[in-house]
Subunit: 415 residues, 2 copies
């Protein structure tokens, strides 16, 4: 597997564009924040129809485009249209009609049916889409589509809300003598929680792979990437990860769980993990990336619960912002995770590029060097390593610190 | 039932004291924050042995005094000793010994056994108790105990950590021709979450009531009060609500679920609810109290989930701080609560002393008067009313807004 400098346009046969169509400009539709790109619409199209897979929010309240995509992902897909600035969530029956009209618009331009188009929206909740702007926007954005890195980057910028930077990733992998490419883009950065977030992620690949195995690979990758990050504990109405595969790499189609499938899955995991960590790292107001590693839990499920509980703790997140080695909050968050374990057999270490420091050893607090701890916590990437004695379960979760800027950004998001 | 200006010394036969013994002064043991009382030890004693009931944290990691009290609450209780400034949590085997030594100290002064003493601690996690200070402190605090309002208030001040004010409540109720009094005190104010928090609450009563019915009444009251508040989603290692009853009101002992039991339960609920709301209102950094009311959920359990999810949402809490009528975040938090409901049948209103405003009506967003919404949200007490169409389940939860000060207080708690 080779990591390349690419995005959704890297695999063969994919074109994209990002564009500023005026959704964010419209005062009534809200403006996402101080950092956002002014671009607010992205289109991705494939030269050939794609097999598609999707993972969606488990929130009972699902935005209209999520309901659309959950159905459409069973069809062959030729295009994706995404807007930022308005989530088309909590928008009643009108919201469903607007999503369909958006799909129809792109379908009419590409000469296919609406059911072959996927639609995503992100931004303010509870305001109907400005359909005149959307309709003209799909047209103008489609007119800009093209191949190459810059077009894909522009699309990645167009899905940003309070993100401070665009997020892309790409890899190539040799499958049966053919070079298969996987490219992706994602946006965060608030409402980020297990089972995804106001998280949109679009992955393209030229791999030939069956629908059922694409589903399986994506589900497994999302479980260990997007479902293991937390910014604020709020699970969005719009979370969507989509992967579309057009088969243009001309590898022998992957139809069983063989070595090719493993290679493809690993490459796909790299892309999802990279994008998920980028989302945690760019969490609203974040100044630090936190990686929580659990080893020795009763099983993997218990390890996942513990790791997520730690990166989700407001108290721990605020302590990391304050560069305070308050390890007691780690043990506390482990304790209310829902996992069962013996607190008297827990070891906790904090780690960064500046070194490693043990804070609790087998249930007993260690008198530690506060100066060394402070030096370690000055770094941007903070690792919290937890060792239990229950079994072989291990897991990793990612999060960010809780800062003044998180409150600032979210205290007045709509205005 | 009469609400009186009282506290734990209001019921007959109870004495108390609060004292500054030097736990908070000791740099190594941490200082809880800028607002705290310098007092750090409280003692309550009863003239006659009490029937006792307790509700405790469900965190797997339980502080040493919690483990002690869970056992001791089955015995007749004569005294309670509580310290602030150090939680004696995550303190290994030494922590258990220290709790027992604390109980023994008060027992030796009162001429009873350690097993008849309850012990509570709150403050920094992971640091062993300074036992020389504790031991002398129990002695000096015990020497100060007395009857009357001021002694009880002093005790309430001595259990504060980052609380900005002490929290007390008291009521009298006529039971079988006798005046029964219930008094209480509590402390918050971070790590406040369902199943309690770094929440300590002590309730005294002179009611004659059997152990099993005191257990039952307290459990029911805590379920609808302390278990329905959330400040930051972190469940503490130390959460404890204790109720001790010495029978000195000389009412006929309550031994069955009769009218007397109902009267007693209602009076006890007033005290727990008042103290729980005080804790939410005084949440770390809070500027507003949020009350979330759910009606029409499938059942009470579902209603509770929804109400708690809403007051726990960081995004909603930040929006309330910003006085932003971002009702979409309410629906979103309802949606990930784990409860099942039809989003298309949800009505949401915001309310305060300044009026009421409907934001969503049966799943459809309402175009509302932003100026009126802003005026309503300027108030301190904000009510969020949610109407569903699933059944008759209803519930209320309380929380506070998420502010810069929450981050400030928790970014550097230990130093």
């Amino acid at each position: 597997m080779n990591i390349i400098n690419g995005n959704v346009t890297s695999p063969k046969g994919f074109k994209a564009a990002g564009n500023a169509v005026g959704i964010k400009k419209n005062k009534n539709d809200g403006n996402a924040g101080p950092f956002e790109s002014k671009k607010d619409m992205a289109v991705i199209v494939s030269e050939k129809p794609c097999t598609a897979a999707g993972c969606f929010t488990t929130n009972v309240v699902k935005a209209a485009p999520v309901l659309w995509d959950m159905k459409a992902v069973g069809n062959k897909i030729t295009g994706i249209v995404a807007n930022s600035g308005n989530a088309n969530a909590c928008t009643g029956h009108q919201g469903l009609e607007d999503t369909e009209a958006t799909a129809e618009k792109l379908a009419s331009l590409t000469g296919i049916k609406a059911e072959n188009i996927l639609v995503c929206s992100t931004g303010v909740i509870g305001v109907n889409l400005p359909m005149d702007i959307i309709s003209k926007g799909v047209e103008s954005t489609y007119s800009l589509i093209g191949e190459g890195y810059d077009k894909g980057l522009s699309a990645a910028e167009a899905i940003m809300t309070t993100d401070t930077r665009s997020k892309t990733a790409a890899v190539t992998v040799d499958i049966g003598g053919k070079t298969v490419t996987i490219g992706g883009m994602a946006k965060g950065s608030g409402m980020i929680n297990p089972n995804m977030a106001t998280m949109l992620c679009f992955i393209t690949t030229d791999c030939a792979v069956s629908k059922s195995l694409l589903d399986k690979a994506l589900k497994s990758c999302v479980r260990d990437s997007f479902n293991m990050i937390c910014v604020d504990g709020d699970m969005s109405t719009n979370d969507t990860v989509l992967c579309i595969a057009n088969g243009m790499a001309e590898n022998t189609e992957i139809t069983e769980e063989n070595a090719d499938f493993d290679k493809f899955s690993k490459a796909l995991y790299y892309v999802t993990k990279k994008l998920a960590i980028d989302c945690a790292d760019d969490g609203e107001g974040a100044t630090k990336l936190i990686e929580a590693n659990v080893k020795g839990a009763a099983d993997e499920e218990q390890a996942r619960k513990i790791a997520l509980s730690v990166v989700s703790s407001n108290l721990l997140k605020a302590a990391i912002f304050g560069e305070d080695a308050n390890w007691g909050r780690v043990l506390c968050a482990m304790g209310y995770s829902g996992a069962e374990f013996d607190p008297m057999a827990v070891t906790i270490e904090f780690r960064s590029e500046k070194g490693i420091i043990k804070l609790m050893d087998n249930g007993t607090p260690i008198v530690f060097d506060e100066e060394k701890a402070a030096e370690i916590l000055l770094e941007h990437n903070i690792f919290i390593d937890m060792y239990l004695s229950e079994g072989k379960g291990k897991a990793t979760a990612w999060g960010c610190d809780l800062t003044y800027d998180y409150v600032k950004i979210n205290g007045d998001y709509r205005s």
